[in-house]
């Protein structure tokens, strides 16, 4: 029976007992695992934080719908150079996608599942409509503008109603 526990390293530094070294390695492994799991898992806000995040996302989406509405309206009145209108439309599409991603990347609390379904459905519809408007602008399908303007109005009003509901 050795008079002391086996050692992992015997260099010029102090001799560290194997058991203590193993405990330290285990702790590091646990911490590393926790960090990796934390990095993979979605954010899990509580109900209040999730609602605040949803309201912010809906407001951002509503702003992009309004931007697209103004762009289509000015294009219809021939007050925007084509490339400018396209750039603003593409930017709106990207911003709306980023806003939606910031919410849908979060794990909704169990109590908010119905609200989540409503909001995520609305965000999908809004993004599709913004993309549709961008396609019409790029193709110059002017005959579709009046209908797009009405739909953008309705979608904006729907986003505003949902925002009020979640406040």
């Amino acid at each position: 029976m050795p008079d002391r526990a086996p050692c992992l390293f015997r260099g010029r530094g102090p001799v560290v007992p194997w058991s203590r070294r193993r405990r330290a390695l285990t702790l590091v492994a646990w911490l590393l695992g926790a960090v990796l799991l934390g990095a993979c898992a979605p954010a899990t806000p509580d109900s209040q934080a999730w609602r605040a995040s949803a309201v912010q996302t809906l407001e951002d989406t509503s702003s992009q719908l309004a931007t697209m509405r103004l762009t289509v309206e000015q294009e219809r009145r021939d007050r925007l150079p084509g490339r400018y209108a396209v750039t603003v439309a593409v930017d709106s599409e990207e911003q709306a996608a980023m806003a939606a991603e910031s919410l849908t990347g979060q794990q909704p609390p169990g109590t908010e599942r119905r609200a989540y379904d409503r909001v995520s459905g609305l965000l999908d519809d809004a993004q599709s409509l913004i993309s549709e408007a961008r396609i019409a602008l790029v193709d110059g399908r002017t005959q579709e503008y009046p209908s797009l303007l009405r739909r953008l109005d309705r979608m904006g009003a729907r986003a505003d109603r949902e925002t009020e509901r979640l406040r």
Binding site: S62, T67, L70, P81, R83, Y84, V86, V88, D91
Partner: protein, 409 residues
């Protein structure tokens, strides 16, 4: 007659050169969310930049030496280094934002992705910094920047309720949906955008480049006290058109394209074309100014030969810094970071760096060894000290407000 033309040219370039990407974005964001209720932030900021630009211009004209040169000599290398690091970090961040701003402005009329444009814009900025004459660069870009006057015309054309706007501006009221914390965040951001440190470094170093003497003091003061406030009016016009078009429509500003939309509503395609020309000129001019300011600040601190009035071969280190900072700006933008986000950070961190930038100028402007009879008078000192208190409060509040409001959300 020639002298009057020179004064007029100086004033016009000061107006045209006043607005940069920070002013464009922040004023439009504020107008779209708060109407004209943050007018005081611009007024206080413009008066502050006038006070300190006049001081630093006077220092340059009387001593023939630029700010960092004197700060290091007067306050020692440690304080000088603190001043250098704080100011230069913000100026470099602003340089990145301005190059990104030029790319975004060009993207508006070409539809080419800004990432593809960034290397070309960077190369063009560097070529101008390397080859173009200082006066040519300042005058051409400053005069083209006057195209932003189209925002004032559009504001007028939109026919706002002037008495309502005046009450909103004077009363500093906020819309019910916004919080006071967010209001104060944007107050500090607007203040930081108006008093960006590079403006003072560029102004005083430019004075040395153009070999100002005490005889040039009246012209310098005309540029500052007429040109800068008129430039401030352009900033308010940008907020004004946003308050008339974007605020009622519920649009918050996330992109440069949204900043120009109200001009299209008011003046149509031609007006918007002039506005885009103004965007390009203002951001390109500011990119040149910030790029030069980075080179000026390091070269003046270390004691290298600097400036565009000497051949590049005689100021190799200075031109090396210009090249390195341009490459760094391009590299940062190619990481796909959003230039508007960089702009938002740059105006907030400008506010943080303000005391580090302006305190040494106040000290040097009070030193009779450098300025003799042109040392600060009582009014300059009262204003300078008052502003130092405001600057310190803004610097202390900037980061906590940024965190609490999640960058103004």
């Amino acid at each position: 007659m020639r002298r009057y033309l020179g004064v007029a040219l100086g004033i016009l370039t000061a107006i045209g050169g006043f607005v940069d990407i920070g002013d464009l974005v922040t004023n439009a964001q504020v107008g779209a969310r708060f109407g004209m209720s943050l007018t005081w932030a611009v007024v206080i900021g413009v008066l502050g930049i006038c006070v300190y630009a006049e001081m630093s211009g006077r220092v340059a004209a009387v001593s023939g030496r630029a700010t960092f040169d004197l700060v290091r000599e007067r306050l020692g290398p440690r304080v000088g280094l603190l001043n250098l690091v704080g100011s230069m970090a913000v100026t470099l961040l602003t340089f990145v934002a301005e190059i990104g701003g030029v790319a975004l402005a060009v993207q508006l009329v070409t539809s080419v992705n800004e990432l593809l444009l960034v290397p070309f814009v960077g190369l063009l900025v560097w070529l101008v910094l390397w080859r173009a004459r200082f006066s040519l660069m300042e005058n051409v870009l400053g005069l083209l920047g006057l195209a932003l006057v189209v925002f004032a015309v559009a504001f007028w054309q939109l026919g706002p309720d002037w008495s309502f706007l005046a009450r909103q501006a004077a009363g500093a009221t906020k819309p019910a949906a916004e919080t006071w914390t967010t209001w104060w965040y944007y107050f500090v951001a607007l203040f930081g955008a108006a008093m960006t440190p590079y403006e003072v470094f560029f102004f005083s170093s430019g004075g040395v480049e153009e070999r100002w003497s005490p005889a040039d003091l009246p012209v310098m003061r005309a540029n500052v006290f007429i040109g800068f406030p008129l430039g401030g009016l352009l900033s308010l016009s940008i907020a004004g058109v946003a308050s008339q078009v974007l605020l009622p429509a519920g649009i918050t500003v996330d992109t440069l394209g949204q900043v120009g939309l109200p001009v299209a509503v008011a003046l149509g395609k031609l007006g918007l074309a002039v506005a885009v020309l103004g965007f390009v000129a203002a951001t390109f001019g500011a990119a040149c100014e910030t790029g030069l300011s980075v080179g000026y600040s390091i070269a003046q601190y270390v004691g290298w030969q600097w400036g565009k009035y000497v051949r590049p071969a005689r100021a190799r280190a200075f031109h090396g810094v210009l090249l390195a900072s341009t490459l760094l700006a391009i590299a940062v933008l190619l990481t796909t970071v959003d230039p508007i986000l960089v702009t938002e950070f740059s105006v907030v961190f400008s506010a943080v760096a303000l005391p580090l930038t302006y305190f040494p100028i106040l000290v040097v402007a009070n030193d009779r060894d450098y300025l003799g009879e042109h040392v600060n008078g009582r009014l300059a000192n009262v204003l300078g000290t008052t502003y130092l208190v405001i600057l310190t409060l803004a610097a202390l509040a900037a980061v906590p407000l940024m965190v609490v409001t999640r960058m103004g959300q």
